[in-house]
Amino acid sequence: MRRSSFAIFHLMAVVVILFGLITGPRLAIINHDFLAFLSPLLPQGAILSTHVLSGCVLTLIAIAFAFVSLRNPFYGTPSKFDKLINWFGYISIILAIITGWLLWLSPQSLGLIVHGICAAAIMVYLLLHGVKHIVYKGKRVLSVLIPRNALVLLSCCVALVYCSGLGVQYFMLTQHLRLEIAPLSEHSFLEIDGLGDEPEWSRAKPVTLTTFGGANFTDGSSEVEIKALSNHSETFFLIRWQDPTQSLSHLPLEKTAAGWQVQEDGFYRFDERTYYEDKFAIMLSTTCELGGDGTVHYGDTPLNDKPQNWHGKGYHASTDGRVRDLWHWKALRTNDMYLADDNFVGAAKKVALGERRYTAGYQADGKESGAYVMNWRWYSPDTVTPKRLPIPTAEETPNKVLDWFSSTVYTPQSDSAKIGEQLPSVLYRSNRFEGDRADVRARGRWQDGYWTLELVRKHQTNSALDVDLQSGVCMWVSAFDHAQIAHTRHHRAIQLRYML
């Protein structure tokens, strides 16, 4: 291999690796708070596709380099130190490529950790290799790095590799998981009870996938199994996922010497990971792009002219003007309503200056009435004043939710709670939503380390904030183990295919 050819490979690899290295840590901050200090250096926005593209291009460069090197190797004059760290670099890059592909094909938390370690090793390699050459060669390093006598060849190679990378990425992104939705007779009735024990379910072919990167799950992962049945008007989903603990606590209020306090571990920055209920989310879209169909925007300020978020993780918002449907089942707040909260991801909403929390495109569908509300008059991390107190009963186990008619208005005089006593934070003003927000019926049950959730929705709701259920629609799922936003995820979309 000629020096100029080697230099072309080298330059392309440097650029692609740098893209991977600045986008990778941004993705990793979602799971690893200790990396947050790097945030000011990292790009923000819908960068998952850039990271995946850099992986595809790097794979092509590595294959081409290996092929050319085997036929006609490049003989340089490296020192022993250079040889040693070059091999360290080669091995790190190869492992990063392999683990990257494994993450795509079969995401596992272990793979994610190894991929991250490889990225850290590549950074160390770049520091040792790059800094050494910069220190020793100074400005002359540019003449080695850029093959000035082969700029035309370089341009052609860059264009070829970039286009091939796009092709590989396109091929990857069309490899969806397929969920075949078995037909259901109009005379079959499925009870939405979280059991899924009707014989009809045995005819539904399951899709199983590993979701990863969630807080509190074992290794951050949860395996999810999805089945679906459909008649002419409705689609039923039966979803089962691993969750070692049943969590039904939601920011309980505890009486202290100073007054009532909200029990929390991150709620102030809207990233509660301890005192929260289990949840499950399903997103639906008519397109199937990477990064939750392009709605995931990483970083603390990923959207222009929109406020910084408090947790530094990112926002969900659509930037193409289309709405993605989002069903958000909550083990405490909506399960006893026999509903999932019908939400959506739309364009980033207008900023309400009087609200500390901004949720960008993640919003709830409208409702005509009915709601749960928080059982405090104003949230403060110090002390709060409850809205209502439970009416004392003979039952020893207090409910996790406070019903309107089993509670009475709070007054300091009526507050006889002892220090250490707890009070629910969730107050039902009515027993269910009414209107657009109540389109998805759902009921979940937890048993032996698994949640089983049944959901049903009409194919068409005639709401501009919902996505019609039909063949070709893609879905993504996320599990939450007593976490507010730190949910599991997966990259490959699940495409619905109706057999009816």
């Binding site: 250096l41 909403k349 609200e355 008059r377």
Partner: protein
């Protein structure tokens, strides 16, 4: 530049980068609204993210608005009232818990003045124009057409204005005259019979103490 200088320079650049990254991020400041300021019941202005607040000072109209609540007090947003000013209208046709009988707008005004909410004893029903000036795009789907971040617990329903003796539409022909209300769902003004149960959001001229507190809090023009 020799090797040693380049090495030292590299170390300095890397060190400074990490020193900057490890620094404490600046504290965030709540943004200021161009029109509204939250005010506590004892006339303390708050920043946009603070609470609880019981009134909103309206810089544009130089008024303070009663803020509805969710605490079953006299200011609870769920209570409804018939239109009554002591002479005109029909008393006690709304629903509330704080009166032995049912409620009318005069009951809320009397109780609010008695409590001197936000330092004022001059609370009244707003004019239709004052109410309409609050209409804006909703903060979220299905929410009322008002700045819900400053005016929470406002319903998608009718809010009484002070304009009485209004001609009623044909549907209410038997009722003769009524009062004007503004609907924060449809954004429309409409005439309703006095005995209709509608919501109420009171308004008052800010007391001198509040104006002083606000002018000390931030430079604004009371016009």
């Amino acid at each position: 530049m020799n090797i040693t200088s380049r090495f030292i320079l590299t170390l300095i650049i890397v060190g400074m980068t990490f020193a900057c990254l490890w620094g404490e991020p600046p504290k965030r400041k709540a943004p200021a609204h161009s029109r509204f300021i939250k005010v506590t019941s004892d006339m303390q202005p708050l920043s946009a993210w603070q609470g609880p607040w019981h009134c909103v000072y309206d810089k544009k109209l130089n008024l303070i608005w009663e803020v509805k609540r969710d605490d079953e007090s006299i200011h609870d947003g769920y209570w409804s009232y018939s239109w009554y000013d002591g002479n005109t209208g029909i008393a006690d046709q709304g629903d509330c818990y704080f009166e032995a009988s049912r409620c009318d707008s005069q009951d809320l005004i009397r109780n609010t003045n008695r409590a001197a909410l936000c330092g004022s004893t001059m609370w009244r029903l707003p004019t239709p124009a004052e109410l309409r000036s609050l209409i804006q795009t909703p903060n979220s789907p299905g929410s009322p057409h008002i700045a819900s971040d400053f005016f929470p617990h406002i319903k998608n329903g009718d809010y009484w204005s002070n304009a009485a003796d209004a001609q009623l539409p044909r549907a209410f022909r038997g009722k003769k005259r009524g009062a004007v209300a503004v609907n924060f769902h449809t954004k429309e003004s409409l005439s309703l019979p006095y005995d209709n149960a509608a919501f109420v959001m009171l308004v008052a001229t800010p007391p001198i103490q509040l104006s002083t507190a606000l002018s000390g809090n931030e430079p604004i023009t009371l016009n």
